[in-house]
Amino acid sequence: DAASTACPTCGRPAMEKGEEERYLIEIAKQQILSKLHLRERPNITQPLPRAALMTALRKLHAGRVRQDGTLDMENNFINPQAGNQAYEIVSFATVEDDVSAGISTHLSFQFLQEKSRSVQVLQSSLWMYVQPANGSHPGVTAEIYLLEKDSGNRTLLIQRTLEATRGGWHTFPVTTSLQHFLDKDQTSFGLEVHCEEDGRNLCGHGAFSHSSQQPFLVAQVRQRDDDSEHILSKR
């Protein structure tokens, strides 16, 4: 009888059923945290509006968000060419007050964890919701500036005429700028967005008063090889 109650692999006396399950759950937790390079589970102090989350996930994984809002993760991997250290991040903008009489908007993004690791930005884009224009003229000129907080400089990154008769999402590539930012020791990645029509800011604070229209920045990043070599040599 004793043999039948012992662990078949190591011979240790079997645990109580409930105890065994608790033990395995703890192992599962530790394994997930260590694989995600987290010391402890993150505390979500400011839950993100669900609408904003669903919009971002829907944009990222078109066709992968089920009706009930859950994400279909089967075979939904990041493109294998990026290497197995690649991962995607979505950072929602902190919107600062509209400046220059409400015609422009300042957005700032935090990338603390990526800054602590030397990562390579494979691609990155800013997702911006633009309100429909009043239709007096079909195109709206959108300008994206990079803000250098230290120097107060403003650098034009992108200038593009948007077809804005209907409101909608537009993406603006910021790969190089984000890479420069991560390589320097600045605290937040600041952008100024300017898309005005007849004195109205089509992508300003008023434009995304609904939480599902909150701007966000997507980046596909990979840990730099030299960093992982460093780890190997340490091992």
Partner: protein, 114 residues
Amino acid sequence: SLRCGEDASVCCKKDFYVKFRDIHWQDWIIAPEGYHMNYCMGQCPQHLSGSPGIASSFHATVFSQLKANGIHSAVSSCCVPIQRRPLSMVYFNSQHIIVKMDVPDMIVESCGCT
């Protein structure tokens, strides 16, 4: 590869699923809804060593040399994962940034004897 029943005596894969909601992790893990932390358990008697498929390990190489030369030793074969797959996860990190990461070798698909 065998799937373990209630009394697992021979090397097999034991299914074990943790639902994140049950451990109150659903607030920071957006997807998937749970984790299949399957594991391998059970004995590997000598006639089973190396089946199904050889677990690629130094241990397997040494063991098969011993066996091929008819050297009976106290070494026993082990029940180990022989097939794994990644787990795609979408979660909030501590800066409330959403991260999507494919975590390699997270789910044991099948077990075998070295």
